[in-house]
């Protein structure tokens, strides 16, 4: 039997991704102990797991080096690679937004943007091209994108926002919501066909867990 390979995104999504696997009875404990190993094997179920930089997970899945991947929708939209996006895992929730100085709020229809700074040039370009039908200069940055409008590098930014506190503390506001972001389960299209049974087992297992989790939460709020 072939090994099924799972690519997980390092960082904030990793723990929750591992929770999903242990939730359906798969043994992933070895991965939680901080170690330098890059690949972990579950010999019983013949599964290989590895942790990669979030931006690289779609690449591994696209090429078939990983059969399944768990990664945020922001990375999926930015990378634009070809694979199946089969499940919304309901964690890592945030929003991809257009943000800028407070003065711009409510005036987006009349304001002309010439420069946009962002960590997501693909998403920004698509947004300005499709939704706003504007040609703008996209300035790619690697991080702390909120700085850009503050120091005059750009008028606005395209970035992900969770609570909105960082924006607020820097005098910026959300001008438009581009997309809802959450962690997604992605599957290589050849693997989906050729390893259908084992992959479906994982997908259905996760679905079951997500359903009972949301039912439990509804139950909690009903009782409050």
């Amino acid at each position: 039997m072939r090994y099924l390979t799972v690519a997980l995104a390092k960082g904030r999504l990793a723990e929750l991704s591992l929770d999903l696997f242990s939730g359906i009875g798969y043994d992933v404990e070895e991965m939680r102990i901080g170690s330098r190993k890059l690949i972990f094997f579950d010999e019983l179920r013949k599964i290989k797991y590895f942790l990669a930089k979030p931006a690289d997970v779609p690449t591994y899945v696209d090429y078939g080096a990983a059969d399944i991947g768990i990664v945020g929708r922001d990375t999926i939209l930015e990378e634009g690679r070809y694979f199946y996006e089969v499940l919304d895992l309901g964690f890592g929730n945030c929003r991809m937004v257009l943000a800028g100085p407070e003065e711009y709020a409510g005036k987006m229809d009349s304001v002309a943007i010439s420069r946009v700074a962002t960590k997501y040039p693909g998403i920004a370009r698509e947004y300005f091209h499709r939704k706003r039908r504007e040609s703008v200069e996209i300035i790619p940055l690697s991080g702390s994108v909120e700085l850009a409008p503050l120091v005059g590098l750009s008028e606005v930014i395209v970035d992900i926002v969770e609570s909105g506190r960082t924006l607020k503390e820097n005098g910026l506001v959300v001008l438009d919501v581009i997309a809802d972001i959450s962690a997604r389960l992605i599957v290589n299209r050849v693997s989906m066909k050729m390893e259908n049974e084992r992959i479906t087992e994982i997908v259905e297992g996760f679905k079951g867990m997500l359903k009972s989790k949301s039912q439990a939460e509804c139950g909690k709020s009903d009782n409050q």
Partner: protein, 339 residues
């Protein structure tokens, strides 16, 4: 000596004797098989006018083609595929008496950033065009030939998924989707993006029956018996005749002992302007992309001036080679010796 003289451009490769030998073996196997099956080899020019590919029916985005100019300033391209030139020849050089016509080709094609070529910009395609017959028998025949070619080349494990674009088009009609919405639905279904599809469907008013079917389309893959799930659904003529076409194709393949290699995928909906019926792709382990793709494209030859139904496929020979390398001790050499 120029700065770049010892390098080769991005996306192309040198084939040294061993690799070259292996590639030629595969090409000979495919050529010999198709010739024995009464397919006739055809060769089209490496250089074509850009205009040949500049139509909706041909569906080739201009940014993917290598372009240059001739002496008169007309735009030329390095052929990005063979199917379009074969259609050009069919419309202009063949007479009624020549049909039905079975052709094949083996040669190099050129595209920028071709994902399916594994980032190769120059790659070899071996393909078949069956012209002049519009029925399930012709469709099944080309699928069968694809299977035989992969088997004879020595690929031990592969799967051919077959879909039908008219099924999806019929559903879009029933749902009353605009062009833009249908395109959005198509992209979501093609990527089996269930969450995205649910969101799209919830935003639209449509018959509950059609809503269920649309949400199900990406799941309609696997055994052909899945088609039975649709027997109690209300479908329009287009979708129904698509299903009937698929059933016939699977039946013929089964009669020829080929069921084990084929499988259904009604959610396979790419290149809708190009394909007009059956669509199929071949997958194998070790390669993240399809190793072959094909289908029925009845509108293409007509765009060159003469209507003619057509169905066919093409195999990515470089990818096939890569896939074979991952299976040690494959049959390639013994097949050749047997000949």
């Amino acid at each position: 000596m120029g700065k770049w003289s010892i390098y080769i451009p991005d996306g192309v490769q040198d084939l040294l004797p061993e690799q070259c030998g292996n590639k030629r073996k595969i090409e000979s196997i495919i050529r010999n098989h198709l010739t024995a099956e009464n397919y006739l080899e055809i060769e089209t020019p490496t250089i074509e006018f850009y205009d040949v590919y500049d139509s909706e029916a041909a569906f080739m985005p201009q940014e993917t083609m290598y372009k240059f100019f001739d002496k008169e300033g007309r735009i030329l391209v390095l052929r990005p595929d063979f199917t379009v030139p074969v259609a050009r020849i069919t419309a202009t050089r063949f007479r009624e008496s020549d049909f039905p016509c079975r052709l094949f080709y083996i040669g190099n094609t050129f595209r920028y950033d071709e994902m399916g070529g594994g980032k190769m910009n120059e790659f070899t395609q071996a393909g078949v065009e069956f012209l002049g017959e519009k029925n399930a028998k012709a469709d099944a025949e080309v699928v069968a030939q694809a299977i035989y070619c992969l088997k004879k080349a020595g690929l031990p494990e592969f799967q051919i998924d077959i879909g039908q674009v008219e099924f999806f088009k019929g559903i879009m009609e029933e749902a009353g989707f605009s062009q833009t919405d249908a395109e959005e639905a198509r992209a979501l279904i093609d990527r089996k993006n269930y969450p995205g599809l649910e969101e799209l469907v919830s935003k639209h008013d449509m018959d509950e029956n059609i809503r269920c079917i649309m949400l199900d389309i990406p799941k309609l893959f696997g055994s052909v018996s899945m088609l039975e799930k649709l027997s109690d659904k209300k479908l329009n003529k287009k979708s129904l005749s698509a299903i009937s076409n698929l059933k016939k194709i699977f039946e013929i393949l089964s009669d020829n002992g080929l069921s084990q290699y084929v499988s259904l995928d009604l959610g396979m909906v790419s290149s809708l302007n190009y394909y007009t019926g059956m669509i199929f792709k071949g997958f194998t382990h070790g390669i993240g992309y399809p190793v072959l793709s094909g289908g029925r494209y009845d509108r293409l030859v007509g765009s060159f001036g003469k209507d003619c139904p057509a169905t066919g496929f093409s195999i990515g020979v470089n990818m096939l080679l890569t896939a074979l390398e991952k299976y040690p001790g494959s049959d390639t050499v013994t097949e050749m010796e047997a000949k």
